[in-house]
Assembly symmetry: C2
Homo-oligomer: 223 residues x 2
DNA sequence: GACTTTAGTCACAAAAAGTGACTAATTCGC
DNA sequence: GCGAATTAGTCACTTTTTGTGACTAAAGTC
């Protein structure tokens, strides 16, 4: 099994492509190459001379038909024994796309993150690491904005943060923090969503601002 | 060059072992295997059946004679072309040891982080990623505590945070935050350090506490 | 036109962080 | 022995940030 192919490389690049579908995150899966009954994360063996990041972008493009609006390496995984490609280690990337504009290629399907079918242990660890990375980077990278279309209402943005954080936020607090961060710019468009007052549309457009000058934080997670 | 050895694996595990020497961080280097004039991070080719984390711990033990008090994977590096071991990709780990008890094996030397000699581009990127990881995890992992001996004074702890953060902290604020975090326990020992009032010794001993219940944070770094 | 629904803002309360000044316990110089 | 210097440890007040309920605005529904 392990030597079925002449192996030019003993590692793969695996992709955790994430979108927000309705009220939950979703992950892109495809049928496993070895066992068509099983599902797997999209993955590929990088070509000679290809960088890791380049291979990841290319793989994402092959699966999605577009390059994710944000992509980042999660790390290398080698603990679990089985991988669909039978490689020694796998370098995982997480990528984000807005659901509205993403149209996966044939053979690729979005799965709600709570309903992901059984994967190899290694790929299961990647999906979990991806959600951890997303949560951890939520306030350092434009995660939420990359899961939304180019323009959005502040309520949509708040709902996205509530989805990612897994908790409700107070409207006034949310908007005050957003204003202080200079991350969005109002457009002159408004959207009427059925009943209620129409909402103004905003776009992501970070502006320079003085660095937050905080003291120490001891935010160790409860052990 | 590339095929000089029969390659059982095309990846290496590289180690950024960090300690606090005097008023600066230091990194452990050794003479490069290929070119004895150059310095390199400690690295090794994992043995068959070995996990990534296991290989990293083992490599650290070989270089230091002890296992780091904290170790974490930084990521996989493959962009830069040259690596001392001539492997395709390298998985980097950062490990911390208190300087007081660390005694590197023969052939390994601590270099102040500002005076690191020229490394391969890939390993240079690892050192930089390691310092970024350290800063980023400073308030989620017991970084500072792992660079100090088992017992320490609060002034020493504050100096360590000042070193890691690169800025001065106010004594009262620091201690208030520390108290709120329930991370240290007082011992009944005191240490007299030349002049001045003796300081009480503390040990790292995190206690359960209610989860910090913050709202949103938009801490995007200045772009 | 009254009622409901969603957007957007305000003002006050509560909590957290910044800061200077104080007391305590030691060594040093004389 | 005693005052000055030095480091530890704490307090109390100010300023900033965050939590929160209630308000006004603009649409649809009946």
């Amino acid at each position: 099994m392990r030597d079925r192919y002449a192996r030019t490389a003993s590692y793969s690049v695996d992709l955790v492509l994430v979108t927000a579908m309705g009220n939950e995150l979703a992950v892109l899966l495809t049928r496993s190459a070895g066992d068509r009954e099983r599902w797997a994360l999209p993955w590929r063996i990088p070509q000679a001379g290809e960088t890791l990041d380049g291979g990841a972008s290319r793989g994402a493009h092959e699966a999605l038909g577009e390059t994710p609006s944000w992509i980042e390496q999660i790390g290398a995984f080698g603990d679990a024994k089985r991988h669909p490609g039978d490689v020694d280690i796998s370098v995982a990337y997480v990528g984000l796309v807005p659901h509205e504009t993403a149209s996966p290629r044939a053979g690729y399907t979005w799965f709600q993150i709570t309903e992901v079918p059984p994967l190899s242990p290694r790929q299961r660890a990647m999906v979990e690491a991806a959600t951890n990375t997303i949560q951890a980077r939520l306030d350092q990278a434009p995660i939420a904005f990359r899961l939304l279309p180019a323009t959005f209402t502040l309520s949509e943005l708040q709902q996205m943060y509530e989805l990612l954080l897994g908790k409700r936020l107070h409207k006034a607090s949310f908007r005050r923090a957003l204003q202080a961060a200079w991350l969005v710019e109002a457009t002159d468009e408004w959207r009427s969503e059925g009943r209620g007052r129409p909402a103004q549309l905003f776009r992501y457009l970070p502006k320079k601002r003085r660095k937050a000058q905080r003291g120490v934080r001891f935010d160790l997670l409860d052990s």
